[in-house]
Point group: C2
Chain length 307, copies 2
Amino acid sequence: MSILAVGSIAFDSIATPSGRVENILGGSATYFSLAASYFTQVRVVAVVGEDFAAEHESVLKKRGIDTRGIERAKGKTFRWGGQYLDNLNEAKTDFTELNVFERFQPRIPPEYADTEFLFLGNIHPDLQTAVRLEMDKVRLTGGDTMNFWIQGTRPQLVETLKLINVLLINDGEAKMLANERGLPRAAKKVLAMGPQALVIKHGEYGATIFFREGAFGIGSHPFRAPALPIEEVKDPTGAGDSFAGGFMGYIASQPEINREVLKRALFYGGVMGSFAVERFGTERLQSLTRDEIEGRFQVFRELTHLG
Amino acid sequence: MSILAVGSIAFDSIATPSGRVENILGGSATYFSLAASYFTQVRVVAVVGEDFAAEHESVLKKRGIDTRGIERAKGKTFRWGGQYLDNLNEAKTDFTELNVFERFQPRIPPEYADTEFLFLGNIHPDLQTAVRLEMDKVRLTGGDTMNFWIQGTRPQLVETLKLINVLLINDGEAKMLANERGLPRAAKKVLAMGPQALVIKHGEYGATIFFREGAFGIGSHPFRAPALPIEEVKDPTGAGDSFAGGFMGYIASQPEINREVLKRALFYGGVMGSFAVERFGTERLQSLTRDEIEGRFQVFRELTHLG
């Protein structure tokens, strides 16, 4: 099944304890698409500027990603600069130049109309809603958001959440969205806002999926996937988007969507996130093999399985 | 097999978003002993003041804990006051009155000489070393420490670590002890200081056990146990000590010590920690049943097990 990712393409300048890079290909749609491309056919809707060259597009094309939805606008591509010098778990933003991304209006190519899986990256909730409403063949929608939208556009976000089946956010975002200190209560409140499942990403500690009672199967027990303790985290940028790409890509590759599939998807999300951080930018995600992915899936499995 | 816990007995005054209590029975040895008492015979060495009454001792005695090692000194029992009003994951200390604990010199009753499992709670490393050297029947020693000793008595702590088989500390302590930002590297450095295994406690995210190459079995893969997302954390005090009690108590109950036992012990640690936080102080740990413990062990197991 094909999956459509709507989000950002960016050029990132990143400093971590392992080094420093300038203007490398990044953005939520880029990380998501590359990670998902190992599982299923991926389509992208994003906007880039005149500085987005053939070499950048070929990173996606080499992974078989359909780039017809990438719009070229006058001006420069979104640029972000950040550092993780003090804390590998949280980026400190040096600068954000939205550039062409500031006026991003997702346009869905007619060839994408039959897409059955959709991932709404971290953009204005009104744009997320508009895309979802336009795609009437979609069976499952995943979505992301962030503090900026939770605080600044809550009413719009509340509308979007009614259209999202699986929301993927981190601990802080979940607590802010629900205005609750404890995760299980926060999860319950967020699920009452619309999603059938909520994935809360804990960074280096893995992720937990909470289900609305009866959604995707019986009961409402949460499920937790660990994260691998990574020997050297070179660059945490894109870990969450790569997680989402592995998670959604695996789901889109399965004939049926049920709890067991969502649990495995949580593991594959962790696997793709763990690869992403091993090198700067998207480097590691460009040349993985299915064997490497399955091998690490087994390592994750063994990490928490009792004999 | 019996296990000896050396540590503190205290009266705690605690404020959390769920309420406030004053002068309730606490201390690392108390939480540890109660948690371990569901698995094995427990002995305690600690010091209390004249305010430690029969009703307090009976909390331990009711669980079959051998209290002959509790020394009564002139003065008041150790008192601690703290709050978790802003952050359930970290206590803000309001006051610490060491009282009789300030001059604590652990004295091992002769009846304890045959003890095979030892847990050295969070006390001065010189005291930990002295106790360990005195106990010549001990097969496995677990130990705890904290930032205060890591910063203030590092040379002494380095000596103690050579005598500890399994060190149980949290993320921040491990990073401080190793002077490393990343957990896997920190773990490797700590293991090089002596322990055969290192348990790093991640609070609400569970715990990871790292093994020295070849210790307790083949290889050096870490293992991670999740923590249950708890609906309502009433009082986080003692969660780490209860974790240690479940972990060490389970090990002491097994005929053999190998990796599979240590992995299961990590789960039992999480189970006992999760019970502890459900009520203020030691209340929940006073009246559990083995059925409740086994039931929660299964929940923990299912929390991360793929079908």
